[in-house]
Amino acid sequence: MTISFDIPEHIQQQGQIIKWLAETTMRPFARELDENEHERPTVFIEQLWPILRDQQKSTLDKLQRAEVPTEGGEKKPKRPSTRMVGLLVQIEMLSWGDAGIYLCMPSASLGGAAIESVGTTEQKIRFLSRFAEGDKPVWGAMAITEPGAGSDNSAMSTTAVFDEETNEWVINGEKIFITSGKLALEESNGLVIVWATVNKAAGRAGIKSFVVEAGTPGVSIGKVEIKHGIRTSDTAALVFNNARIPADNVLGSAEVQASKDSKSFQGAMATFDASRPLVAASTLGVGRAALEFLKEKLAENGVEIPYGQPYHKLTAVQRDVMGMESQLHAAYLLTLRSVAMMDEGLHNSLEASMAKVKAGKVVTEVAQKAVGLLGALGYSREWLVEKWMRDAKIGDIYEGTGQINTLVVARRILGYSRHELA
């Protein structure tokens, strides 16, 4: 290998297409949707569904073809993957359009990622086909957080009990803060991955993930949250009251392993290695939107950013902007590294958390500063910059707060377990 910062041409082109999509289906509706919190971004959803559906279909088709052994099959040499770098570019650009609308993307989403990473081929086909067919959009979601289990998700109390008579799992409990939870279970024929314990005494080893499909009796939508930012995103609570699902809706092994940290919990946590950089990517898009807008307005008012000039020749505003720009870029590079490592098949937990910490913090600060520097109009709802400031804040909270991700970084660099560094 050799160090390179070149984003492949086809990914850059995709980025440009998404930019057009963002400018036509997201930005023009961003303010109105923010003001009318629980309305759906229908133009965006209608545009995106056929594209995402067909992508999902081709992924599934490939999977099915791989099931059939090829004759005298000498495999083609595997090209190095660019999948994660591609996702970074796409998600960053979509969130530059609008982070709340982006989160309403009709796809399997995080639920799909979990099925992809731990599901069997049979499960992948059974659960993901719905995202690959039909005229009506379908959403997937992931339910981990509970009222009493946030960063400490091993403290969750939702239970899954196996009923041998009916060969079903019976789920009871409450999950909150589920992105697209209502879209998945009430507004489409989607599904939610629910994390629950099969044996509370076993701690982390007892936690498994289950696929709960739309239409399952005993599942109801609880509170739909009203939020500081990303208002267009659907954030719902789910209540499980003796919800019964088939035995083979459990992802990974149903056995409770004897070891303290079971493989399946670690496997579930490993999805964070992919999801954290992508959440960072989304946050970065919001930051770039705010910074670009700020620079545009400053330029209109005669303020340029003179790269190269010595410190004493810069105005306070120029210094601020340069600081924002380099901080944002630092976060971008950390994120790019964490996804490129994943594409190379390298272990990236440390780098993923670093990217998430940095992006969450920097974008929050950049957007807040942009509002400040833009004065009376920055604070006004006439412009989107105040919205971006509200949208930015979630980047330092979801998929692990800045603090819990800093803890992950600290443990890794110190070689400490969670018992040694609590």
Binding site: F5, G308, V357
Partner: protein, 365 residues
């Protein structure tokens, strides 16, 4: 194709420099700093790794490998050992690289073979000027034409190893072109005055000097690159990324020392690293070091591709200046009282780290 994995050759080079930094440089750094005297043997060993010679063009006996990216990888690792030694070993590059890039055939043939000897080549460069507001685009040192000669006037600061140098590359405002150009000055010429060795907060093992040029009359052939001159912006960018990378090296030295210390220092019955207050400082240090390294790499990558890297190099340097101060300060803080004692290296790293915003033109890749 994005990747952050260096080539095998680069990895080999880095592990060579790392062994040198850990086994040779670290052993003498404290003493050299205390004595304000370079550890000459160790410096020679560093020179013999061959970083500068390998950048000399092939037709003049070198390997012709002048990659900014390989340069930043090497610069970080050298500075991880000690900043004074790193700058010392790389001082000849301050003249050699601009000459290799922009020199006329004659200039290259005269000067570059000096860099193929076993000892540190007796060449250096002078960019920075005394005074609190230094602007690399508005140099006060002037070069003016008069009766076929170029007359050099002005004062320079922080010129490394000037006392032992034979040739000094002097950056000055060229009154003919109204641009900054570089001039090759034979130190023995009349009008070249070494005012004094400077006494600095850090870099104590690197002799740097205040120089004065009193109407030094140079031949027209002393102008680097002849009538074409230099690409000053590109040289500034090569300096910016070199210094950013060295800041990463210094910061990493402090971080690793503080991390290891925090794991063995027991208070209240447990290692202090088991407190979030300390662990989070260390995590922050690690994140900021990695951020800066990536920015330096990216700027160097763009330089190697021949793209305009001003924005990247400038922001990387600015970022590095802030980062290295914060990280080395945290290093001292984590060691508490011991951090303040000179027998522990962290205070030296803080003194060296503080200097980066000032170190214009002290390193190049």
């Amino acid at each position: 194709m994005v990747s952050f994995t260096s080539t095998e050759d680069q990895q080999l080079l880095i592990s060579t420099i790392n062994r040198y930094a850990v086994n040779d440089v670290r052993k003498v750094a404290h003493e050299a700093d205390e004595a304000s005297t370079p550890a000459s043997d160790v410096v020679d060993t560093g020179w013999q790794i061959g970083l500068v010679p390998s950048a000399i063009p092939e037709e003049l006996g070198g390997l012709g490998e002048m990659s900014a990216l390989t340069g930043v990888l090497a610069a970080e690792e050298l500075a991880f050992g000690d900043l004074s030694v790193a700058l010392h070993v790389m001082t000849p590059a301050l003249l050699a690289y601009p000459v290799a890039l922009y020199g006329t055939a004659e200039q290259r043939e005269t000067l570059l073979p000096l860099c193929l000897e076993a000892e540190v080549a007796p060449v250096t460069a002078a960019l920075l000027e005394p005074g609190i507001f230094f602007d690399p685009y508005e140099l006060k040192t002037t070069a003016s034409q008069h009766e076929g000669k170029i007359h050099l006037n002005g004062e320079k600061a922080y010129v490394p190893l000037a006392e032992d140098a034979r040739w000094i590359l002097v950056y000055a405002h060229d009154s003919e072109t109204s641009k900054v150009e570089a001039f090759i000055v034979d130190k023995s010429m009349s009008g070249v005055e070494i005012e004094k060795r400077e006494q600095l907060m850090g870099l104590r093992a690197l002799p740097t000097y205040r120089l004065r040029f009193n109407d030094v009359a140079l031949d027209a052939s002393a102008k680097l690159g002849g009538s074409v001159g230099i690409d000053y912006e590109k040289l500034l960018n090569r300096q910016r990324v070199a210094l950013a990378a060295m800041a990463v090296g210094v910061a990493r030295a402090s971080f690793e020392y503080a991390r290891d210390y925090a794991k063995q220092r027991v208070q209240f019955g447990k290692p202090i690293a088991q407190n979030q207050a300390i662990a989070f400082m260390l995590a922050e240090m690690a994140i900021e070091i990695d951020s800066t390294r990536l920015m330096a790499w990216e700027a160097a990558y763009k330089l190697d591709k021949g793209e305009d890297a001003t924005k990247e190099a400038y922001l990387a340097k600015q970022y590095a200046d802030n980062m290295v101060l914060k990280v080395t300060d945290s290093g001292v803080q984590i060691l508490g009282g011991y951090g303040f004692i000179r027998e522990y290296p962290v205070e030296r790293w803080l003194r060296n780290g503080r200097g980066f915003p000032t170190f214009h033109g002290l390193a190049i890749v």
